[in-house]
Symmetry: C2
Subunit: 208 residues, 2 copies
């Protein structure tokens, strides 16, 4: 991925926050059938490991061999940026449109696990993370489902693990613009209802 210096994020905690805020990944592999991808929510266990699961009916775990290199693409909020939103436009009109976005590309090696322990671990981690964030004290738990139903559900999935080899993070959020132009963009997006990316543009380190 092309990353000019002003859009290059290397802080592991900032990258972790980008993944945690937008955990739906596209898992891409080059196979005998060509390029294939599948959208899958993944969880960063730490800075070196992602976990998740796929449906047993998804032939990804057959056409992609354990140990293969994969590219994991996380994509967050994004928006068209109109030149009209830059106060500096009135000076010399030397402005053009662009697109702002946050994306993380992770290269790694994928492996598939069919044992119950790995499947329960992956499902349990994802469930706990998203239920606590969504429902707090009312979090749904795997134990809320009947054991035979849960066993059938686990029979229908395959756990996946990605061992990370390289990470590239690109929050492209007008960091190359003046403070006035950054505020102009953030104000316009906020007024349009794109409040998440407006806040990220105002505070590209995510501290807002």
């Amino acid at each position: 991925m092309y990353i000019p210096a002003h859009f290059h994020e290397t802080d592991p905690s900032a990258i972790g926050a980008m993944i945690a805020a937008h955990p739906l990944a596209q898992v891409v592999a080059h196979t005998a059938q060509g390029l294939v991808a599948n959208p899958l929510p993944l969880l960063a266990v730490d800075e070196t490991t992602l976990v998740g699961h796929v449906a047993l009916a998804n032939d990804m775990h057959n056409v992609v061999r354990s140990g293969s290199d994969v590219l994991i693409i996380f994509q967050g909020n994004n928006a068209y940026i109109s030149p009209n939103w830059y106060p500096s436009k009135s000076i010399d009109h030397a402005v053009v449109p662009t697109w702002n976005y946050e994306t993380v590309h992770i290269h790694g090696r994928i492996s598939f696990q069919h044992d119950n322990k790995s499947k329960i671990d992956a499902v349990g981690r994802l469930t706990k993370t998203h239920e606590q964030a969504t429902n707090g004290a009312q979090a749904w738990k795997m134990a809320d489902a009947p054991p035979d139903y849960l066993a059938k559900m686990l029979d229908g999935i395959v756990a996946i693990q990605i061992d990370i080899t390289r990470t590239f993070a690109k929050p492209k959020l007008s960091q190359n613009k003046s403070a006035d132009d950054i505020n102009g963009v953030a104000d316009a997006l906020h007024q349009r209802g794109d409040k998440d990316i407006a806040a990220a543009i105002r505070q590209p380190d995510g501290s807002d």
Copy 2:
């Protein structure tokens, strides 16, 4: 991509609407350096062609040869779906979490154009589409910028065209659930502020 029948969209106008609503694509290629991807806003000129542009400084147009197969990934609104949101949970608790999303995967052959006509065509189409949608009668036009500045900007880009070979569209929006559970999910997401995906779930054909 694994697409169960109830999540498989084949209507070209519905697929076109999904791309138009979320035009930031991840353009993926398999190269001598392995898998590489770049986020780029693309425009569907018709059902067989996508156009866009990359920075001249982006080595994608060197490491990916014109004529290469690429995978174009469009990803729209997405959200974690809690089992708590299904009214049917109270019957037998036979529910588990999932993720809802809309994604379109397009396979095609990419080509790069360095001539001014192709570059102006790509930039002009993207600008017109997004400015009219964003600013209506106040749309910014390329002619608003000084000609020498615009010429310099055009010198800094390369036009791209993708000739589409296969398209896979997967709106995964609880279509396999009962009307009550679909409404429960849409209500919960709407209350949480995720109004776009709530509306898409209520009307998976995009007619809302």
